[in-house]
Symmetry: C2
Subunit: 402 residues, 2 copies
Amino acid sequence: MRIFIAGMDGYLGWPLAVYLACKGHEVAGADIFMRRKWVKERGNHSATPIRSMRDRLGAFREVFGKSIAFHVGDLRQYEFVHHVLGDFRPDAIVHLAEQPSAPYSMIDIDHAMFTQTNNLVTTLNLLYAVYDLCPDCHLVKLGTMGEYGTPNVPIPEGFFTIEYRGKTDTLPFPKQAGSWYHLSKVHDSQNIAFACRSWGLRSTDLMQGPVYGIRTEETQADERLLTRFDFGEVFGTALNRFCAQAVIGFPLTPYGKGQQKRGFINLIDSMRCIELSILNPPDRAEYRVFNQFTEIFSMVDLAQAVKEAGEKMGISVQVAHVEVDPRVEAERHLYEADHQKLLDLGLQPHRMVDALEYILRDLTKYKDRIEAKKEHILPTIYWSKEKREAAAGLRLREVALR
Amino acid sequence: MRIFIAGMDGYLGWPLAVYLACKGHEVAGADIFMRRKWVKERGNHSATPIRSMRDRLGAFREVFGKSIAFHVGDLRQYEFVHHVLGDFRPDAIVHLAEQPSAPYSMIDIDHAMFTQTNNLVTTLNLLYAVYDLCPDCHLVKLGTMGEYGTPNVPIPEGFFTIEYRGKTDTLPFPKQAGSWYHLSKVHDSQNIAFACRSWGLRSTDLMQGPVYGIRTEETQADERLLTRFDFGEVFGTALNRFCAQAVIGFPLTPYGKGQQKRGFINLIDSMRCIELSILNPPDRAEYRVFNQFTEIFSMVDLAQAVKEAGEKMGISVQVAHVEVDPRVEAERHLYEADHQKLLDLGLQPHRMVDALEYILRDLTKYKDRIEAKKEHILPTIYWSKEKREAAAGLRLREVALR
């Protein structure tokens, strides 16, 4: 199949391109390297020393004898989107070209505005270009489990059938997202569902949980193929952050009581879920939602698992709760979320507990790079003035770094 | 109270400023006259010959001996929003500063993008400025009943309590909006609810149905105080459009079968609802939703009512269905929507049937202005290529204008 990856330079985009190309698909992608810029803007870097796209593409060709097409360009420009899709005429598009960090979106109004407009504009451009050029193309969109928030009822996969005052309907499950970033994904989901209803487009919206891991089978073949690995407060996902902390002997820092539960997924499984979505497209006019995670853990569960894995390897791991959770979120809540549809399509999930040792071992190679930026791990971005003031009172940073 | 009106030059904004100032409130507002520009861009004009803001403000001072403060500026610029709110420190803000037309948003990608980014950015600016400057201020936001779409269950006022798989929660009612414009309001609602949850802001989101009418008690005092009255396919609301058609002997044109039902509200009641919301603010951190309409009619009900009112005045009124509904929407559907909360606060609704004669009589004065732009009444903007093609096949325009 002809698969276009919007945002091919990112944490998911690059290993996905390699994975799909190795599976025999014809892969093309675009990126303007914003993720590299944002991480640099925050003063941080990837734990893994990632190569330029030119080097990555060259290494891929060298190792696998295949090519991936790549376009440098800004997907906020409709002319660019129209041009690259018109050229390539994909059967499927995987849309990863968004600002993906909740803390980044909460820095200030400029970052909030950037996140929401960037994500909205990119998605609208893709919808219009697909409708104009290749209306049969399947748009696979990366959403987030965070769109749902933490309701006190089980979370279905996108839709639920309810009876209300004597009538019945199947409705989109209500969204209660917890940051400007998560809200941007809610806006996207709404826009995409409308394009499917009105224009007959087809789309799979993947409500993904936090992804963890570094290596995939394919990128393991050559260090130049490695994907990025962020470990700071802004772009590091919870488990990746904990692993990086463990490796440099920095205490793991669940926020608040650490009872927040989320659904996690291994990078390898994330690639496979996207492939399964592509191989099993929805009908025309269908807007389909899959919840893309494999295991639910609380933050203290995660910390405990990393601690145990570290100790098996002879690393002593401390856990020190960040007393003031920088986010406005429920610290105790129900979390019963369906995640059956991708299993039904054939997903065979990896277990987190089996992956931790590999992640820690890999990261040990990049210990110095993590050490060099360890001041970027603890939270400095707060969801509200109240949170910021409460944290300032506690002099968090000094206490935890002692 | 100190009330700031964002979008003070529009159909609702201007009579609202006059109404609230006459009630003794201190009123300030801002606008950059975009509505005038959009209507002109589409080649149309207001049926009522509206004055410049300078003339309006002068006439108001002359007639009522009071002042309304006004700032020309773009609410997409945070510095401007921050400046005017910092100066005025309102107790309440009425946010009307959005592109309000579904057809306008469906013209092409540029209009879709403009509508969604304009509305999103303006609302985010107001939220950040309120949080920074006057977090106790009550944000009264004009949403639309169109956010809900037409589900097969009754529509509550914003939230519903449901049991799902043995658990119970009160959740936002799902949204299934029918245009990029309606979706922009859904995005706003999501963003505002988040700001209330996270920052402790207070807001009332008014899910308003189509508004009809021209005069309010106050603007009746002097013709220079008249608000605009749009009657074209782009900015004319259904009933206003039908009244304009009746006055020039143009057949009323329900779309498709005309069984689409909506909740309507008189301009006078709309002003009163906004006032009632302001006088009864929600608590801090509360995001409150009122459904703001008074009577539900189908499009054929409306056409019939206008026909009868016209005939009482000796105007012969024809009804000619536009065979292809230009919108993608359910032409037959359930529509049971609550609208109790504003009644509980004291709203005494006007009945549409009593208003029609006044509207028709008023419009008769501006018959020539409607006649001059009658080619802008029939639909030319289609929700999808399929709709456009179906309509082209029928040579709609020629048939209906015959």
